[in-house]
Structures are given as C-alpha cells and as structure tokens.
Subunit: 654 residues, 2 copies
C-alpha cells in the first residue's frame, strides 16, 4: 500500500497568516487543497479529480476572499452560500472546507466511507448547502435560496457552480429563463468550463455553441475569464457584486485536471488517444505518487521563494475497507458484447447514450456501428423521447444511462413512449445500492417502482454474464413490449452459477440452492451473492434456505411460483431496491391472486430509508443486507409465529 500523507490544518493556518502576497497565498492554498483532494481520493479508491482540480481555484477564491460564510458562520441567515450543482467536484470542496476547519479531519479523510463524506454533496456534511450529483438542478435551487433571502430580508449572495457538460441538461435552461423573469438577481452562476465531460471533450459529446451569446439571450449578465487567475476572478466577482438587477454568470475557462501535468486535459486527452481518464477513479500507486510529488514539489518551491519553510505532512493510515471478494465478471461487459453480436443480424437496432458510453460498456458498439450509435450528451429526457421517435419509425432503440437518471429524470418520457405501444429497450445501468460511494444521487433503489405501473414494460435483472446475454436476446428478439434491463455497474462479487441447461423463461426464476426451511428470492449479482452467503451461514445452524434467482422483477409465472415455494412456509425476498415497488410486491400480489399465501410468513429485506454511502461491505451491513445480517434476520423470524402456521419455519419447533 502506498504511503498517503495529508497537509494538516495547522499548515493551512500557517500559510493563511503568513505575510505574503494575497495571490501567492491563494495559489498556495489551492495547491495544498489539490494535494489533500488527491490524498483523500487515493485513500477512498475512487472520486473525481479532474473536476475538483479545474474548479479548485474558484472555490478557494470564494471561500477565502469572496464570501462572508466563514466569518458569519454556516447557520447565519445572512451568510453567503456556495454549492456545486455538478457535485462530483466535491472532493475538492471538502479539501477547502477542511483547510478552513469546517470539516473535521476524521471526516475529511474518510471520503466515500460510511462515517466520512459522500462522493457527491450531502447536506448532512458541514458546509454543504445542497444535495447534488444528478445534474442540472443547481440554478433552480439557487433561485429558491435567493428568493428566500429576499422574502426574509436576509443578506448574503448565492453562488452556484455548474459543469460545462451540465449545460446539456434542459433544466438549466428552465432555470436561466425563470430566474430572469422572476427577477431573482442574487445568483452568481459559475460555469467551470473545463471543456471535458466524463471522458471526452464537450464539443464532441454535444457542443455548446456560442455560450456567451446563448446565456445573454436568457437575460443574464455574462462574464468570462480564466478560472485559474485570481486577479481575473477578483475583478469579475467585484463586477457581479455591483450588479443587483439581473442574475450573473461567469464562464470560467479552466483546465480539467489543473495542477497535475499529466491530468491536465490537453496532455491527458493526447495521452488517452482522445479519451480523458482522470474524470473519476483514483490513480494507481505510481500515478498517485507522481501527481502528489508534483504538487508538493511545486508548493514547496513556491514556499521557499516566499521564505516559508517547506510543508510538514502528516501520514494518514490506510483504512480497512472490509474484506470483500470480487470476481472478474462485469455483467455490463456481457451486455455490451451481446449488443454488438445482435446488431450484426438486427439492422434495426440503434443504441443511445447520454455521456456514459464507457461506464455503460457501449463504446465498443459506438466504434463498430457509429452510424447506429447516438450520443445524446447529458440530456436524458431528449434521449428517451428521441428513442420514442426512432421506435415510431420502426427502429429498436436501446437507451443507456444510469438507472437513477433514466428511470427518474426521463420518467414521463418513458410513459409517453409506452403509451404509443412501441418497443424500446431501456438499460438501467448502475442499478441498486452498490457501489455506494457516489451516494444517493447515483444509487438507484427506486427505478423498479418508477416503471412498475407501466403495464407493457418488463423489468429484468440478470445475475451473471450468461443470463445477461439471455436477457439482451429476450429484450431484442422475444419481448413484445418494451423492457427495462437492470444492470449493476461494478464487478460481480462472485460469478453466480446457474444450473446446466438453464434458459431464461418469462416469469420463471431458478433455484440456485435448494432448501426446505424457507425460500429467499433475490436478483442481480450483488444481492444473490449475499443471499448465497446467508444460505451458507444458515446451513451451519441446520437451517436450509432455498435461494432462488428471480430475474423477472415484475412478471411471475404462478405455476412456477407455486412449485418453487412448495411447502415452504417462510418466504423472504431480498431487494436491491427500496421495500416499496420491487420484486417483493410483485410476488406478494401473485401469491395473493393465486391464493398461495395462507399460513405462510412473508418478509422483505430491502434498502430501508435512504441509501447510505460507504464501501459495499459497510453499506450492505448498515442496511442489514449482507449475508451475515440476512442470516441473523432470517433466524430472528424463528420467534415470529404466524397464525395458523405449524412447525414453522423449523420442523418440530414452536
């Protein structure tokens, strides 16, 4: 494990109080925050560096020079407010909050850990003013804050940071328009125009055109400057302060990855053959060491020049992330490959993406079938309605993005398409609780409920690569209506073994482990892994849990159901979802409709409340959904005697 060090708070205090030029001090602090950001992301094993670095100088300027927030206090109604709408630059903001003593060290170093900070902003963290991470909501929220200040007669300005890729989201334009009309002038929007979105230049994904003129036509006062030049920032914000009758926007020209030579986008894009690799994820040990050294060396050189002694660093102990095996299997890889294979014979198949081609494993499709690949930028609603138009003209669109964004942001568009009775395949990537580091904005535990009331739409979540291919084949070739394919984004904890000769059949799951004491239904690689663990643990207590993989989340064949529950009187359902609207409700309804419920006990294990953030192990445990917790919860029901049940769930007991 590589050694990770932190620049402690005292060092920031030393620099803050040193008698040096203001701009020199700010440059030092920004770089010190970059070093700490890098350390925290490395320690977390994931996080967004490129965007944290491009926005860093602006965030430092705001907190150190522009805003009254630190002076008046975080709860003061007259405080200035800053928050990031793009949200993934929050590791950088945490570093700034740490440098000001707002965020305690213990929390700061625990990026993406249960007791630390979230991968995207969450108001439960000190200094965070709004939840974000799903794009496009920030200006609207800022409008609400500014309106409240005006209504309450409070002072304080509202600053909000957008990404440039974020300017592809339609809500941004709603807010630009209404802010002007509603005369909400007390907003300073900063567009961190770093020119690169998740892994490709903005101008390639969806060009923004003449952004200055565009913003002017929405009635905003527009300024543009170098977002790494404190003198220019100072000038712009002074200008903004004087303008009180119109909302203001700064297009800040920045460099993604600013501060680490090989992460800066011009160099990084070249090195990546056109792809930017430092948007998210932690660098490996070698890259980390190089990057960290580069920043520290620069800081120390600058300090020497300013006659300050070099930085004293503090070692940070690495933390146990919880033992967790993973396999080499990614179901999304199987999905991507299946798409390519099927596309060879199905010329009507077109694939849509909203700036997540790498994560959704459709880049290979894009390269192989560029004429049938539609890059839509970060505009989910447009993507889904465009798919509707494609389907009306006889094509079969396969729509890709994260489940949280697809099922929620474009929900009405999915409904509208469904009303037309065309066929579309919606692929909900990053479905479920895990990975939990990015937080609530990205974890998708509602997507099944969001499409559940659409009668002609089947939701399928495959458990491994083999079943994923079967599911893709079903969606494209067999399904009469539209489908939602629900896929986890990370590696499968284990490769779920399906019985030889298994075929995916509508409404029928498959028993993975037999058992006579109770049945546990689950789906997807994450939860089936935990279910199998639970069965293994329970076997030691002589409790035989039948584990059933049920990939059909909202379709069930009741003959099969009756067969599989057999004489089992205890039925459990493990959801990679909230308790409402998932597989449990499907099964419960099917059981009731078939009069299969009498003298049976039924219980769901689901993501209760809002999903916690952290490592997979700690979050699964937090929600009581890891194998050990599940086993304990199942044994617990030993004491719950359902009425009229005999010998349940333990033969011979009572």
């Amino acid at each position: 494990m590589v050694r990770i060090t932190l620049i402690p708070l005292e060092e920031f205090q030393r620099v803050r109080t040193a008698s040096i030029d203001k701009y020199e001090r700010l440059a030092l602090i920004a770089d010190m925050c970059r070093a700490n950001t890098l350390a925290s992301v490395k320690r977390a094993g994931s996080g967004h560096l490129g965007s944290s670095f491009s926005a860093m100088d602006i965030v430092v300027w705001l907190y150190y020079e522009e805003m009254n927030t630190v002076a008046v206090g975080l709860d003061h109604p007259d405080r200035d407010i800053y928050f990031s709408s793009k949200g993934h630059d929050v590791p950088g903001q945490y570093a700034v909050l740490f440098s000001l003593g707002i965020l305690p060290k213990d929390q700061f170093i625990k990026l993406r850990r249960l007791e630390g900070t979230c991968g995207h902003p969450d108001v439960s963290t000190s200094g965070i003013e709004a939840n974000s991470g799903s794009l496009g909501m920030g200006i609207s929220k800022a409008k609400g804050m500014a309106f409240a200040k005006r209504l309450g007669g409070y002072q304080g300005r509202v600053f909000v940071m957008n990404g440039d890729g974020e300017m592809q989201e339609g809500q941004v334009y709603e807010a630009l328009q209404t802010a002007t009309h509603q005369r909400i002038a007390n907003i300073s929007l900063i567009i961190d125009h770093n020119k690169v979105q998740s892994d490709r230049p903005v101008r390639e994904i969806c060009d923004l055109g003449d952004l200055e003129t565009k913003l002017q036509t929405f009635g905003w006062h527009v300024a543009r400057c170098d977002g790494h030049d404190f003198r220019q920032l100072e000038k712009v914000f002074a200008e903004f302060k004087a303008i009180t009758d119109t909302p203001k926007v700064l297009i800040a020209d920045t460099i993604k990855g600013r501060g680490v030579s090989f992460m800066e986008h011009p160099a990084a894009l070249k090195a990546g053959g056109g792809l930017y690799r430092w948007h998210s994820g932690a660098p490996d040990d070698l890259f980390f060491t190089d990057a960290y050294q580069e920043i520290i060396t620069r800081i120390n050189a600058r300090m020497t020049k300013l006659e300050l002694s070099p930085l004293v660093l503090e070692e940070v102990t690495p933390e146990d992330k919880g033992a967790r095996t993973v396999s080499c299997e990614y179901v999304a890889d199987a999905f991507g490959q299946a798409l390519i294979d099927i596309a060879a014979e199905r010329e009507d198949l077109v694939v849509l993406d909203s700036d997540l081609a790498a994560d959704c494993r459709i880049r290979a499709f894009e390269l192989k079938y560029p004429e049938r690949f539609i890059e839509n930028g970060i505009a989910e609603q447009d993507m889904v309605s465009m798919a509707g138009g494609l389907a009306l003209q006889g094509l079969l669109p396969v729509v890709n993005t994260f489940a949280a964004f697809l099922a929620a942001r474009a929900n009405e568009q999915i409904y509208n398409n469904a009303c037309e009775q065309t066929k579309i395949v919606y692929v909900c990537h990053y479905a479920g609780l895990i990975p939990a580091g990015p937080g609530q904005s990205h974890q998708s535990i509602r997507d099944i409920s969001l499409v559940g009331a659409l009668p002609n739409l089947a939701v399928i979540q495959p458990c491994n690569a083999v079943e994923t291919r079967m599911a893709v084949e079903y969606c494209v070739k067999e399904a009469e209506g539209s489908c939602v394919l629900r896929l986890i984004i990370g590696p499968s904890p284990r490769i779920i073994e399906l019985p030889p000769g298994y075929r995916l059949e509508l409404g029928r799951g498959v028993t993975l482990v037999d058992g006579s004491n109770a049945v546990l239904f689950a789906y997807g690689p994450i939860m089936l892994h935990e279910a199998l663990l639970a069965a293994e643990i329970l076997r030691e207590s002589n409790f035989h849990l039948k584990v059933v993989n049920m990939p059909w989340i909202n379709r069930v064949n009741t003959d099969w159901l009756q067969e599989v529950i057999d004489t089992c009187r205890a039925l459990f359902v493990l959801e990679d979802h909230a308790p409402v609207g998932g597989l449990g409700d499907t099964l419960l309804n099917a059981l009731m409709a078939s009069d299969l419920m009498s003298v049976r006990h039924f219980r769901k294990f689901a993501v209760e409340g809002y999903p916690a953030w952290g490592t997979p192990s700690e979050v699964l445990k937090y929600h009581g959904l890891d194998g050990a917790s599940l086993a304990a919860r199942i044994l617990e029901t030993r004491n719950v005697a359902p009425p009229l049940s005999r010998n349940w769930p333990f033969p011979g007991e009572r």
Copy 2:
C-alpha cells in the same frame, strides 16, 4: 340543447376542386376547419379552441400544400410527417384530417369520447404520428423520426409544432442543442407564437426574451412570419426546403383564438380583464352560436364573392354522455381556500405554480399574497428544485401542478429534495382517471407509485372539501416530512359524508357504510362515489359491503386496520390508480406484516392497462370501475373460494 352542424366532407371536396385562387381556397378551408373544430368541441363539452385556431392556417398549409403525406399515404416510409408537440391543438388537426377524408366522420364528431378521438394526440387515431399533450417532447421525437429516415434512406420531411408557452420546458433546449450537434437537419419546427398560454400572456408567465436570437444561438436556422398569411408561410417553407444542413425553426406570429372575433387574444384578454378564457373548455350555447355564425357567415360571404354557392351544413345529433350526477363541490376549491387561511398565520408558506393557477385554484392566493406566490411557467423541474432551495432556507413550499406532470416530469427533483430531508408539500392536481377526455398524457394513474419508494413522504387523498382542509392543515402544520396531496380536478360526483366528529388521523381511514360481508377500501371523491354506489347495489342482493374511506395512501395504522377489517374475509381495494403501487399494495404489505391475511381473500380493482379516454361514465365502465361493474365484480368472487376460508363471503353458503 343547441343545434350543432358540421361542414360535411363533400363540401371540402367542392372547395378543393373549385377553380379559385389557391390562397382563397386555403383561407376557406381553414375557416371551414375552424367551424368544424368548434362544432366538435361544443359537442364534446370540452376541448382547446384558442390554440386550435391559432395553429389552423399553418396546419392547413402543411397538409394541403406542403406535405406529400396525403398523396403517398399515411404508412409510406417516404411520407412527410407532421405532429403537434403541444398537442392541445389537436381538435383543429382532427378537423383538417376529417376534411381530407383521413378521419371518418363518426370518429371526428366523437371528440373526447371512448370510440372517438382523444383530447390530446394518440397514435391509435388515423393521421396522428405521435402521442403528445405533456409539453416539450416533440422536437426530441422529431429528431428520432428524422434520424430514422436518414438511417433508412427514406425521403420525407419532419414538421413539428410547439406552443410558445412550451418553450419554457427545458427538454426543448436539450433537443435544440442535440439536433444541431447530431446534424439532424431534416426538422422544421414551427412555434405557434400566439402569445398566450393557458390563461395569461406568455410575457407575464415567463417571458421568452429575444426568441429569434435565442434559437440562433442553438444553431438553428430561424425564420419568422405571420402564421396566418399563406403567402408568407409558402415562402418560409420553400426556404426551409432548400436548407439541408441545419434544422429550421419558424416563429409563426399568430393570434390565439384566430377566426372568432371575441376569442382572438387581444380582444379576449381585454374582455377577461387580463385573463384569456378560450384556452380550454367549450363555449356556452350563446357564445357557441355567435362564434359559429361568425365563421359560417364569413365563409359564405367569401364563397359568394368567389361565385360558389353557400355551404350546405349537416346536422349532428347530440349524443348521450351517460347519466352522471355531480355535486357543486370541488375539493381543489377547498384546498385553495385552506391555503389562503393558513397563510395568514404561517408566514413561511410560499406557493409555486407552473402555469395552472386557475385549474389548481391558487389564483386567489396569488392575488392575496403576491409576494409569496411564485409563477414558474411550464417548467416543472425548475419549480420543484426551486422549492428545494426555498425549503433549505427554512420556508415551506407548496408546489402545484397536475399530478401527471409533477410526479413524473420532476420525479428526480422530488427525490433530490427528499434526500435533503426538508419539508415540501407537493400538490398533485388532476390525480386519477377522471376527467378522461384529455387522455393519457393528463390522466394520472401512476403518481402514487412514482413517489411510493420515498420513505419520508406521505401521500394523502381527501374525499371531500372538509377532509381536504384537514389534509392541508396536516401537511402544513403536523407532518414532519414532505407530503403529496392528491386532488381530483373536477366536481365531486357527490359530497361524501363523513361521520360527525371525524378527524384526520395518520394512517387511519374511516368507515362510511358498515357491512359484514366484505370491506372495500377506496379514496377520493370519484372512486368513493362508485364504491358507495356499489354498496347500494349490493345491498339489494343482501350483500353488505363495508365502504372505508382511506385517505392515507401509503401510511396505515395496523391497529385501525385490524379493527376495520374485523371478521371480514373478503377485502377489496378500489384504486384511482394503476394496480401497481397504490393503496392496495400498501394495505397488502401491512396485512402481511401484521399476519392479518390468513383465510382472507384480497382483490384490487384498479385502472388496468392504459387509461381510456371518454366521458367519466363510459371510461369508468370501460375499466370496470363504475358502481354497477364493481358490484358485479364483487359478487363474482362468490365463486372464488379462498383456501381455508369458511362461510366466505356469504355466511351460510358453500
């Protein structure tokens, strides 16, 4: 009943084949279509006249002069495609389709009837190319159509009509941006710039600014002309045809209500004291007669001048809309009044609207508390996130729009707010199946399921004015978390009587009619009316149905539940919602968790499939949800013997 006449197809054929000036002919046809639109809306008793009339000349130009659609056929892959994104102008389009022989008379005259045409476009109707009615999706769909034409190597242009108010929807800007980037040039967008949205001028609701320059900054070729001048339209579309490398948009300056002097917006706004009253709804007999006479007189005068004999009109028989009593109660009125009353003592209460202030009954609040009223225009996502910002700053936002738009369009924004654990009241107006005339885009039978997985959000649907006030009080004063208040938009079929001394208590419903054979849970004025009717009918068969009003859709007190179901072995739930994700699932889960299900039969009556359009009576019957159908369906279950049940549901039988 006023006499309603139609200009028959033969008369259109006479004018089409007459040797007259092209522009004269078009003007005649447009006015003839206006007359027929008016007749169909009058016959339906509702429909959108203002917008149908403003768009009429453009639609006539497209079908009669511009497009190849009629010539090559509606299924031809090389056909030109026209559809309206705003959708509420579809009565006008139906009149044009009727005039061309595409829409049969029997269907045309049945606007908003089960076997006729839908209040908003539906692809099951001949000549309709896309479903619309919820705003902002059209350009995206047109993009899909144009992309498909390009990929398939097909000819044909794609024309799509937007409203000017619709330009407030963010998805529009997503589509404008991506169309340019994706080089989808084969789109001609027409903005029917009639300057008035639902009942007020666009510039008052949310000004569009310099629309021409704005559209240009999105990379579109922009033209502007008088949308009632065929010569100008001819010129613009000829120009568009020649431009093949960029998408094109025509800002068509039109007059809302064009063709009927008192419906034309300059006069109508004046007459309405700033409010436009002809956006939706049929005119009364007097206004209808005046309007119809005005159009027919103008047509005949023009025909005489052209040496054509006057129009021969065909009488249309009025149709029975099904006997249906309504009370004078509107729960939305009670909501609006309660808001005003509570606002006097609660200074933190702010009300948000998205251009539906009249329908949502919050205009009185707007007038009384203008400083606490936020008009957001047709921008639901922005409205909801703005509410989030208001709540973060300590205010209590009450967010208003139709359920279909609020719960679906702004779903991710609602989730984001909920994650912040602030308190917001979302008011889902026009919830449920009825009125069914506007069709699927407006009927909201998924909203409960769309918020069901949010753990800190209670959904309440009150049954009458009294309970509505209690619900508003609860949401504002008592609820700890956010709430969804679900309200029907129309008059209550009857005033539901609550027992004396009834108080709204969390998770507890109330028995309206006692009965020992079975329990029927229902909510809201529409379905409780049908439930009570069913109980009355069943009583004649000596079947005593207990009817329970359960306003808490996703909260249930199990002690109360146990008490209310008592020894009843048959439990029924009547949903004003799809079968998935409504009250039925809440109760089923509560019953299972409390081991109350044994030897009971459980069945939901819900809106299966997609909601039909038509009158309330015919649509309730279509879905088997009217009192008579419910009674029959309940009696039907006499033959379903749940296992282990004795004497069920008829004591003494088996």
